[in-house]
Symmetry: C2
Subunit: 337 residues, 2 copies
């Protein structure tokens, strides 16, 4: 769907007259939040992955299972929820036992790793697609949402950005990398993104807002800015890149992929100054890289980009996963220069 | 999927090593049962509906929304759960505002009627299909399952059987009924089945086992017999028919549709003799027709059919919803006659 179409659809489905008192947060964040008791909430997220739109048709079943779960776990992570249950609706063109075995082995390996259980679902015949509904637990009122960012909060991202886009470009033969190991690592970062589950749990009580980077930093940060009614200042020099991206790509390309590539499934989160030391201390215990890339401003929905202290303009292209020809992002010097 | 294929798929997905203590019931019943506290359980069910397989491609959007929710509510009803939340994953070939408005209006009307809230989901582009995940509440240890049937339990069904198959046959021009009102009513029973939510709640503590009739009485009763390791005796003369079926169909046809037609979304439940009076008293307060059609026996997985006290044999055809040519069921006199 295009962004416009998506907004339109959201309008039709965001008009429930019946508001249940146990629904703490409905449509519009990474997960719904449901109060099951006074002390305990449930986070629920549903994602559909369609062949040719959300994954390449030739994807290996073990990678598809891994990625489908990671995409959904990432939504739970962004809310600070602890994963517990999965429902899987699988639509397949035909029954292929080898495919099923590889898919289910990979799925159960990941479920077991995260202490989750497959609780049910449905299998139907049709063009390959999957709908996963994941459930996670969290204490009442401890969820991270998109709506909590405050003026002057620091903006952080985990891991490195742009690797998934580079991995996809390699698979699509739009990026050639000679070194086999580097090539393999970037493809793996695309096919097997790590959901930041421990990080999400660590951020509870310290971060004011969080989101997972599925559509690219700009698009996902915009969701925080819209929900929190604030703006942001991003220092482009502080965007975190992998060694591989540093090695093979010029600054324009890697910056474009970091900002708009999407599917990195890192977390972007905002932290008030008073929690900064506590947060960094806590994160140093986790084996997760993190970078402070800017701060929240009061200019609603506006992102200012800075490069070496100077304001620059970024034109974000329309992105259509797996359908786009390029991730081109042009940076234009600010008129004030 | 054929039955064999379905069993095969189930094998691959029913092998979780990780058994969480909060999962009271995983794959294999109408819903999963999840303990959220010591006193409260959650019932969760996921169903996918694919155009041309689970509904006729020309179905009106308001009927599709109604039916998709009813199918899922029926699963909650069969467990005795009280519906609360819905996640909807909708895949559409294109964005059609009129379609979306009709679909969402109908969906919200039903959600409001049942006191439910849409909590999230996903919209993607592709061949029309829907995956719904419904959640329901119930007190701990009060769920109705397929596995509780006991020898000598009475077998009941709600409503009337075979009407949905007749309605589908009319839509497929395989059944001609002159009277416009009767035709309309049968089509409505196919397109807009009523999930037996109040009945499911009423059965808690009185019924030993329950299931909703989605695949036809024989197929669904078999699920109870397999899960409960018992058999059944069904008196064909006691199968409940609507006035319309009585008026237009011969006994073979209406009996075939009652036993194998499917999609009636009535409940089939088993009740011990000691609860029979209490149950019938309770059901008389609800506006739900019910019929006692037989009893549970000790002959594992075997269904005996009786007609006027005589044993008869029924050959159940393989059923593939919307793909079948006929609902033919032949009754063959028992050799002992």
């Amino acid at each position: 769907m295009t962004c416009g179409e998506f907004d339109l659809i959201t309008r039709y489905f965001n008009c429930s007259k019946n508001k249940r008192p146990d629904v703490q947060l409905g449509i519009g964040d990474d997960c719904a939040l449901l109060a099951v008791t006074d002390e305990q909430w449930l986070a629920v997220s549903t994602d559909t992955l369609v062949s040719g739109i959300h994954f390449l048709p030739e994807i290996a079943p073990q990678d598809l299972a891994y990625k489908a779960l990671a995409v959904n776990l990432s939504d739970l992570s962004a809310m600070g929820a602890e994963p517990c249950w999965l429902s899987l609706a699988l639509t397949m063109p035909k029954v292929d036992e080898r495919w099923l075995k590889a898919f289910s082995d990979s799925l159960f390996e990941q479920l077991d790793y995260h202490g989750m259980q497959l609780i049910g679902g449905d299998t139907t015949r049709g063009p390959l697609s999957l709908t996963l509904t994941v459930h996670g637990h969290l204490p009442a009122n401890k969820a991270l949402t998109r709506a909590g960012a405050k003026n002057d909060d620091w903006i952080y991202v985990s891991g490195t950005l742009g690797d998934s886009a580079a991995g996809l470009a390699i698979l699509q033969k739009k990026l050639a990398i000679d070194n086999a190991e580097d090539r393999k690592r970037l493809i793996e970062l695309h096919l097997r993104p790590k959901a930041r589950v421990s990080l999400g749990l660590a951020l509870r009580g310290l971060a004011n807002a969080a989101i997972d980077i599925s559509d690219g930093l700009i698009a996902d940060l915009q969701h925080i800015l819209t929900a929190s009614q604030c703006g942001a200042k991003i220092e482009l020099d502080k965007l975190p890149y992998s060694d591989e991206l540093q090695r093979y790509l010029d600054v324009e390309k890697k910056q474009g992929w970091a900002l708009n590539g999407g599917e990195d499934y890192e977390l972007c989160f905002t932290v008030p100054e008073c929690n900064r030391i506590a947060l960094e201390k806590k994160l140093n215990h986790l084996e997760v890289k993190y970078s402070c890339i800017g701060s929240i401003t009061s200019e609603v929905k506006k992102i200012h980009f800075l490069k070496k202290g100077q304001s620059v303009e970024i034109k974000a292209p329309y992105l259509n996963h797996y359908g786009f020809d390029h991730f081109a992002v042009t940076t234009v010097d600010d008129e004030s220069k």
